[in-house]
């Protein structure tokens, strides 16, 4: 009985053991991972991990899943998407995808995508559908639509199925463009319609943009269409020019010329022709044209109308209105241009005509028109003589001429300039004429005038001289201005009545201006004749005379200044004052009076003081005022200042200061001394005699002259004392004392009478001394 229980106990223990053991054998997840890792390390198992690491998959099964995914996605599978769907790393997917595409020819691996033939056939059908609908497709467009590489699309899809699934044609020049025959026909139709609508040159780019056709197709189809026009080039800016355009241009030009016999350049340019002249020459090879600036005139028109009318105008001595015989489109400038061109021809005689504002006048007609002016010139000449106007003119002219001559003598180099200036004046005068007709008329007038009288010829020479000197001062300008006896207004009055009958009164001024100079010359000649028959009266001081006088005084002042510098300073100052108050004052008076006459001022008194001269200067013209006022101020300053001021005044008066010539100084001094000696011999008054004797002795001793008043006698005697001997000095001193006694004593007193008696006895001695001392001085010099 005990053994049975033992067996039961053993069984129970075994059962318990089994229970506990099974619990211990349950494996955890981590243990499984370790087991698999161990198997992988021992190369006993090959698996692929999923992304989350929770699953394993064998490569073969993965490959099969990839193929299933390709099928499910309709033949095209993105490997990135497959990686997400299958939950496997992308690199693993890529390796297996490469294996699949290598093993199976119908599967392509393109840019990370698996594509099979079914899908390719499918998109080939889609491409064909698009091609049928639109007529034209490009690979780049398909590449963006299907998101596939261009090369793959071109070679493996389109070209592979071209002619089968895809019914189209490949562009020979661009293999990436495909189109259908129907598309080509449509483009051709569009091009044909567009070109038919064009009637003027137009950019090809505009045509293509309007009708939506490509450039290459346009150029390739253009020849097939054979349009009524042509394309300038195949460059970027090519243009299509229809034939009807050129024909329309030519038709318009031809019809216009046929009707009007002329062509305007502007009108031709508006038609689109850039070079009107060459176009006209090409369009009318057998026609001759007169090519003006704005218009081309038919030569026949000019010959039949203008030339014929001009000949008739000359023959009948009439005038011609060109505006009535030329087309109304021509402007005044055009008409003038026509006239000039005709006159330039060889067989024309320009001197027969005068052109004014569209009217051509024959010379005889104009000569007859202005005939009454001849009497006008005659009467004007007489009036000038009677009124004294012409005499005054002659005086002014003579004065100016003398001034010019004097100037020429002083400045040799100035002569050449004057001559050149004169020639320039003459030349510019001619050029100022302007119109050709006017120039011709001027020449004719001059010749005619010269042939009349020799006096007129002389007058012309004088006029030239005056004109030559016009560059001088203002005074000269005024003096040489030609006298106007006959004015333009006078002529206008006489000819207006005749012109009004013809309806040409608006040209009266122009015609009068042509003849004003001629008739003025006639009047002047006549006045000259009348003047020469009348004796001359009332000569005026001339410009040259005053100039000479001023120069002489200035020379004297310079010599006196030289003498007074030998005295002490205080005496010099007094001598300078005396010199300026005497000679300086005289110079100022001369110049002031001259300027007053130039300014037509009335001067009653010829001896003026400073205040009077200043007042006079204020009344003068502005150009003289400053210089004269300055000169008056200089009288209170030094001799140098006075000389400078005087030079300024001379310049304003167009006067010249002569150059210093020291060779003449000695002669002047000797001449001065002789004058003093002559006065000495004629003098009987003791004081004056002593004064003269002192001056003579000073000049003899020092070799220079002195300008001094009586109060300076003692100073002079003091100065020359050293040069005289004892007896001579005693004589002069006694004579001087006696003179003082006489001056100080009461007149008619006994003392005065006694002094006078002594002066009488000593007078001869003093005179002799002055004379003889001079001789002795010469001996010393020798």
């Amino acid at each position: 009985m005990g053994s049975d229980w033992d067996e039961i106990k053993r069984l129970a223990a075994d059962f318990q053991k089994a229970q506990l053991t099974s619990t211990l054998q349950k494996l955890s997840e981590r243990n499984c991972v370790e087991i698999v890792t161990l198997l992988l390390e021992k190369q006993m198992l090959e698996v692929v991990f999923t992304n989350d690491g929770k699953e394993y998959i064998t490569p073969d099964h993965l490959e099969r899943e990839i193929q299933d995914e390709l099928y499910v996605n309709g033949g095209r599978a993105n490997l990135v998407e497959v990686s997400k769907t299958l939950n496997v790393d992308l690199s693993r997917i890529e390796l297996l995808a490469e294996r699949i595409s290598a093993e199976n020819q119908s599967v392509h691996l393109v840019l990370g995508q698996l594509i099979d033939e079914d899908y390719i056939s499918h998109i080939a059908q889609e491409i064909n559908e698009k091609l049928v609908q639109r007529g034209e497709v490009s690979i780049s467009e398909l590449a963006s639509q299907f998101d596939l590489p261009s090369d793959f699309l071109q070679h493996d899809v389109v070209e592979k199925h071209l002619g089968k699934i895809i019914k189209g044609r490949q562009d020979a020049s661009n293999p990436r463009v495909f189109f259908t025959q129907a598309y080509i026909q449509r483009c051709k139709a569009k091009i044909r319609g567009a070109l038919a609508a064009i009637t003027r040159p137009i950019n090809v780019a505009v045509i293509l943009q309007k009708i939506g056709v490509q450039e290459k197709i346009f150029y390739s189809l253009l020849d097939e269409i054979a349009p009524a026009g042509q394309v300038t080039s195949k460059q970027a800016n090519s243009q299509y020019v229809p034939h009807i355009y050129a024909k329309t241009q030519a038709d318009w030009v031809n019809s216009f010329y046929k009707q009007n016999s002329f062509l305007e350049y502007d009108a031709i340019q508006k038609l689109g022709i850039s070079d009107a002249k060459s176009y006209i020459r090409k369009q009318f090879p057998n026609e001759e044209f007169l090519y003006l600036k704005r218009v081309a005139l038919g030569a026949r028109l000019v010959e039949l109308t203008v030339v014929t009318a001009l000949n008739e105008c000359s023959a009948t001595k009439q005038y011609l209105d060109l505006t009535t015989i030329l087309p109304s489109n021509l402007s005044e400038e055009d008409i003038e241009e026509v006239f000039s061109t005709i006159m330039a021809q060889k067989h024309s005689n320009p001197s027969n005509f005068v052109y004014l504002d569209g009217i051509v006048f024959s010379q005889p007609y104009l000569a007859q028109l202005v005939q009454p002016c001849q009497a006008l010139a005659e009467s004007q000449a007489k009036a000038a003589i009677d009124g004294g106007v012409y005499q005054q003119y002659i005086v002014e002219k003579t004065l100016a001429q003398k001034g010019n001559v004097s100037t020429q003598e002083l400045e040799d180099e100035g002569k050449v300039d004057k001559r050149d200036e004169r020639r320039k004046k003459a030349s510019s005068g001619k050029a100022g004429g302007g119109a050709q007709g006017r120039e011709t008329k001027t020449k004719s007038t001059k010749k005619h005038q010269r042939g009349k009288a020799a006096a007129q010829f002389d007058s012309d020479d004088e006029d030239d001289a005056q004109q030559g000197s016009r560059g001088g001062g203002g005074a000269s300008k005024k003096a040489v201005k030609p006298l106007e006896l006959v004015k333009t207004a006078d002529i206008v009055k006489l000819i207006t009545a005749s012109l009004e009958e013809e309806g040409l009164e608006h040209l009266s001024k122009s015609i009068a201006s042509l003849y004003t100079n001629q008739f003025n010359q006639t009047a002047l000649a006549r006045a000259q004749e009348l003047f020469e028959a009348t004796p001359q009266t009332n000569r005026r001081q001339t410009h040259a005379a005053i100039q000479d006088r001023i120069n002489t005084l200035l020379i004297d002042i310079r010599l006196y200044e030289k003498g007074l510098k030998l005295f002490p300073q205080d005496t010099q100052t007094q001598l300078v004052k005396y010199l300026l108050k005497s000679l300086g004052n005289e110079i100022c008076n001369e110049l002031s009076l001259y300027v007053a006459s130039e300014c037509n001022l009335t001067v009653k008194n010829t001896n003026l003081n400073v205040d009077q001269r200043n007042k006079l200067a204020q009344e003068c013209e502005a150009q003289y005022r400053a210089a004269l006022l300055e000169q008056n101020k200089a009288l209170n300053k030094s001799i140098d200042d006075f000389e400078l001021a005087t030079e300024t005044v001379l310049k304003t008066c167009s006067m010249i200061i002569k150059k210093v010539d020291k060779k003449k100084d000695r002669l002047l001094i000797a001449d001065h001394k002789k004058k003093l000696q002559k006065q000495l011999l004629e003098c009987n008054e003791p004081a004056l005699l002593l004064h003269l004797a002192a001056l003579i002795l000073f000049t003899t001793i020092t070799g220079s002259i002195l300008h001094a008043s009586g109060k300076f006698v003692s100073a002079i005697l003091q100065h020359i004392r050293g040069s005289l001997n004892e007896d001579q000095n005693a004589l002069l001193l006694r004579y001087h004392d006696l003179v003082l006694q006489v001056l100080q004593a009461i007149p008619d007193s006994n003392e005065s009478k006694l002094a006078n008696e002594h002066l009488q006895t000593m007078q001869n001695q003093v005179v002799e001394l002055a004379q003889n001392f001079s001789r002795a001085s010469i001996s010393k010099a020798d």
């Binding site: 053991k17 506990l20 139709a189 567009a194």
Partner: protein
């Protein structure tokens, strides 16, 4: 006693080193642990049957404190072997008590406890938390992917609807619907040519400018006679009878319709016998007096397809008619001569060849008018001379030409709109119907696939969230266990140091 009040702070990472440095645990503690584990394995071979024991032993790891519990349990089951001296005679009790003693020798149990504690703190608990975070992230991503699939689905549905609308069908029974919309094709042609008379001035202007009275022949014919048969255009007279070729829609069985009982294929082929067919048509179509009136503009609508399919001996008509026959009038006996057959039976806009030629002409006229308008605008800003010159050429101003151009462009737009193109292709291209049906079907399948994928993603989201929820109790239990061990360690060390307070830093908080 100040010293006894100072707490002992031990960082978790340095706990094992601390025990060794304090000489509590020997350096070779690992060898002793291995011996102890081996004894435990042997002792497990013989265990009594007890519920508490089974629960304890269900765990994978048995530590010292588990040994203590086992001993307490064995005291109950082995109490029979207890002697008067207090010792147990049972071999089980002896074995487990030996294990307990070995643990307590040199504080080996403390080393093992510390090791388990540190591993839990550093690896086990963070591992579980990372797994939870990863699961949550995957759930969010999957949900987002499911949501992102809504957009392509809407797009494909819109494309599908647009294509159906262009075709004018609903997509339920493609074959029947195709036949139905094709019957409306003549009406579309007539509608597109409503304004055809308005372009007559443009045609006249084009003829005048190009100097050719024979330009744009098809357009001239359409303006004068409307959309007649090719026969009438060629022969300049209306046909007596019209025999349009039958429509062949080759839809594969799978693409035909969604109904199961759909007919696989219908062949409308008819007898090509001229006499018989002519006789039948003559009897059906009653024009009153023969040749007395023009054909009505909607010829196609009068043909009853049902009658055509009545004969049982139908054969296919040969479409490859040589071009040379177009210009030849077959003068047969009786009524054969006035019959429009083959390609000539189509109307001008319905014929593949003449439709292209018609479009060529209408585009040519459009180009002409566009250039005229452009040039007139240029002339307005040009000089008067040029304007007066060109006035001789053009009898219309920009305004009137513009109106003609609007009419021309309207005709082009209506003739070339998508529905008309689809129907035209459908009628004249056998493969087109199949391609359209396949296209529609692919769209439908794509939508279905997207929906299935979205459902799968949603399901996956749910599963991921459930897995994440399941990890919550695991984490809680692990944390509780770790805290228990921490408590044991702190108490044990405290006893060794006069009951001072012991704090393990950096544990599970």
């Amino acid at each position: 006693m100040n010293e006894s009040e100072i707490p002992i702070d031990i960082h978790t990472l340095k706990l094992q080193d601390w025990l060794i440095s304090r000489r509590i645990v020997p350096k070779n503690v690992q060898q002793e642990l291995r011996e102890i584990h081996r004894k435990i394995s042997n002792a497990l071979q013989d265990m009594p049957s007890n519920e508490q024991l089974i629960k304890l032993l269900a765990r994978t790891n048995i530590n010292y404190y588990h040994v203590k519990e086992i001993i307490e349990i064995l005291k109950q089951t082995e109490k029979d072997t207890k002697s008067v001296f207090g010792t147990y005679g049972s071999q089980r009790m002896k074995d487990w008590q030996e294990i307990s003693r070995l643990y307590e020798k040199n504080a080996t149990y403390l080393a093992e406890t510390a090791q388990i504690f540190v591993r839990n703190v550093n690896y086990e608990i963070p591992g579980v938390r990372k797994q939870m975070a990863r699961l949550e992230q995957q759930a969010d991503e999957t949900q987002k992917r499911a949501h992102d699939l809504n957009k392509p689905e809407s797009q494909i549905l819109a494309d599908h609807s647009a294509l159906l609308e262009q075709l004018g069908v609903k997509g339920d029974n493609l074959h029947a619907e195709f036949v139905q919309v094709l019957s409306g094709l003549p009406e579309l042609y007539d509608k597109s040519l409503v304004g055809i008379a308005n372009i007559q001035p443009g045609i006249d202007l084009y003829a005048e400018v190009s100097g050719n009275k024979q330009v744009l022949p098809i357009l001239n014919h359409l303006v004068e006679f409307g959309n007649t048969t090719v026969y009438q255009y060629i022969h300049k007279e209306a046909p007596l009878a019209v025999e349009e070729p039958p429509i062949r829609l080759n839809l594969s069985e799978g693409n035909a319709s969604k109904d199961d009982n759909a007919v696989a294929e219908i062949d409308f082929g008819t007898d090509d016998n001229g006499g018989t067919s002519s006789t039948v048509s003559a009897e059906i179509i009653d024009y009153g007096d023969f040749g007395s009136g023009d054909l009505p503009e909607s010829d196609g609508g009068n043909i009853d397809w049902g009658i055509e399919s009545a004969p049982t001996d139908a054969v296919e008509i040969n479409f490859d008619i040589p071009v040379e026959e177009y210009g030849i009038v077959v003068e047969g006996t009786g009524m054969d001569g006035g019959t429009a057959k083959g390609d000539q039976a189509y109307t001008l806009l319905d014929s593949p060849n003449y439709r292209d030629r018609f479009l060529d002409e209408i585009y040519e006229l459009e180009s002409f008018l566009r250039m005229r308008i452009y040039e007139l605008k240029q002339l307005e800003s040009s000089s008067d001379i040029m304007f007066s010159l060109m006035d001789n050429i053009a009898t219309h101003d920009g305004e009137s030409i513009w109106k003609i151009l609007v009419s021309v462009e309207k005709i082009i737009q209506q003739t070339s709109d998508k529905q008309t193109q689809h129907l035209f292709q459908l009628k004249h291209s056998p493969k087109y119907a199949n391609m359209l049906a396949t296209k529609l079907q692919q769209m439908t399948k794509a939508v279905e696939k997207l929906r299935a994928t979205r459902e799968a993603l949603k399901q996956l989201t749910i599963e991921l969230r459930e897995q994440r929820q399941d990890l919550n109790p695991v984490l809680e239990e692990l944390i509780a266990q770790t805290r228990t061990l921490q408590s044991h360690i702190e108490k044990d060390i405290s006893k060794r140091y006069k009951n001072r307070v012991v704090n393990l830093m950096g544990g599970v908080n």
